[in-house]
């Protein structure tokens, strides 16, 4: 697929989402405690916004419990972490505690061979990879509740 064909397809998915849900897919990018990379966070935010997502950015070093609260308060569809590991597991629990287990969790990073072996629970989405973004959009479209 050519770059622009993929971009068009993402655009169509976003439009379809907007038509169905009344808003764009909304993503909170979080940097959990111990994480670093405010720059990576901003880069990921810019990429996703360019694809047509509405993107919230958390303050630096938010605990998973705090990220969950923010996700609930901003009523996002997804939380994007910069790396997987304990934070993702804790976040799953924290969202569940707030009865928002429906909010999806992704890791905004390039897929690596090792990471692929880590189990399918937390999808890795590279915002620079159009196929990844399309996969994510299709997933959100089917799993997110309609209100």
């Amino acid at each position: 697929m050519s770059f622009s064909a993929e971009t068009d397809q993402i655009q169509r998915e976003i439009d379809a989402f907007f038509q169905a849900r009344g808003r764009r897919p909304r993503l909170l990018i979080g940097m959990p405690v111990g994480g670093n990379g405010r720059r990576r966070m901003n880069e990921a935010a810019t990429r996703f916004a360019r694809h047509g997502f509405d993107v919230d950015i958390s303050p630096a070093h938010a605990a998973p419990r705090q990220l969950a609260r923010m996700a609930m308060e901003n009523d996002v569809h997804l939380v994007g972490l910069l790396s997987d590991g304990d934070a993702a597991i804790e976040l799953t629990g924290a969202l569940g505690d707030l009865s928002r287990g429906d909010i999806g969790i992704i890791v905004c990073a390039r897929r690596t061979p090792e990471a692929d072996g880590n189990g399918p629970e937390i999808p890795r989405i590279d915002p620079d990879d159009a196929d990844d973004v399309l996969r994510l959009l299709k997933e959100v479209m089917t799993t997110c509740p309609k209100n």
Binding site: A45, H51, D54, I57, P59, R69, E73, N74
Partner: protein
């Protein structure tokens, strides 16, 4: 999984200060779906008797003046005094194709985690009218949910300031010292809309310049006729970073409130704002109906071409299109 909320769920949840339901109610308000809009209107109708008790403050200023940092500092001071603080934003950067980046919470690190605060940045897609409408409704939801201070941040560009001024009790404008700007230009319009002016970043080696700017603004203000004998606009200095002067800004806000309550001007302002709100709702609805009318949608492109080709006059084209939606009565 959260279940779909009924009207009763929304109303009961908001009134019982349930954060999750309050958040999802705001989503209904922000939604572009007609079904969601209808739900939002029904919710507003039910909760509006419980709203109206908050202090509504608009906060404006050029990008980078420190609005978000100021809200973090003021907001923390207020929640520590026992207030419940809601923070909203109006940013009508309309008609962009991509999504919005909502970074407000990155500057509100402590406030965004405080149990007595609720911060809801809203995506900026849409028209200013639409964004203002939503913010007003969101403010009602926050008040019904028990927030007794609502702070509305807006960028310092003319139209969105006016929109925010039409929904708050008091308009605070943050300024920078010695940005080398001409006193006449930007400030004239701002001076007309501001109820309190605060020169921010009055810290470190900027204090003296802030003091000088304060004098300049006071002079400029002294040349203007006050809008009401009740109030002359104070010029203060503060630092959102060190907290210096923040308490003073808040005390002036309270002072304004007290005086305007005593004279009845606060109630009068809100009545006027309600009438303007009704008017803009009607205007919006008429517009929506017209542009969503299938006949209009169908004929529109053809009319555009005809006007471009000069085969029909713009006035006649408009008349024909309007007649598809509304009965056009012959003039008497």
């Amino acid at each position: 999984m959260p279940k779909k909320l009924t009207l009763q769920d929304h109303v009961a949840g908001v009134l019982s200060h349930n954060r999750q339901v309050t958040a999802r109610t705001i989503t209904m308000i922000e939604s572009a779906l007609p079904a969601h809009r209808r739900m939002a209107q029904a919710i507003i109708n039910d909760i509006i008797p419980h709203a109206g008790k908050a202090i509504r403050v608009g906060i404006s200023g050029v990008p980078g003046v420190g609005k978000s940092t100021f809200i973090e500092t003021l907001g923390m001071m207020l929640v520590e005094k026992g207030h419940q603080v809601a923070v909203l934003a109006v940013d009508p950067s309309s008609s962009r194709s991509g999504g919005s980046i909502l970074g407000d919470k990155t500057r509100m690190e402590k406030l965004s985690l405080h149990p007595n605060a609720f911060i809801r940045p809203s995506p900026s897609s849409g028209t200013l009218g639409g964004v203002a409408q939503r913010t007003r409704e969101t403010m009602i939801v926050c008040e019904a949910a028990g927030y007794d201070v609502v702070l509305v941040e807006t960028v310092g560009v003319g139209q969105s300031e006016t929109a925010v001024a039409s929904m708050v009790d008091l308009f605070l404008v943050l300024m920078l010292a010695g940005a080398g700007d001409d006193l006449q230009g930007i400030k004239k319009g701002i001076l007309e809309i501001a109820d309190v002016i605060a020169i921010n970043k009055a810290d470190g080696d900027n204090i003296e310049r802030a003091q000088a700017a304060k004098k300049d603004y006071e002079n400029a203000l002294s040349l203007m006729n006050p809008e009401t004998p009740t109030w002359s606009v104070p010029v203060l200095t503060c630092s959102a970073k060190t907290m210096d002067g923040i308490e003073d800004v808040w005390n002036r806000i309270l002072d304004h409130r007290r005086k305007f309550m005593e004279t009845g001007e606060l109630a009068e302002t809100r009545r006027r704002q309600d009438v303007a709100w009704m008017r803009s709702l009607v205007e919006q609805e008429l517009k929506d109906r017209f542009f969503n009318n299938p006949d209009v949608k169908q004929r529109w492109p053809e009319m555009v071409r005809a006007v471009e080709n000069g085969t029909i006059s713009p006035t006649l084209a408009a008349e024909k299109l309007l007649s598809l939606e509304c009965e056009v009565r012959p003039s008497p």
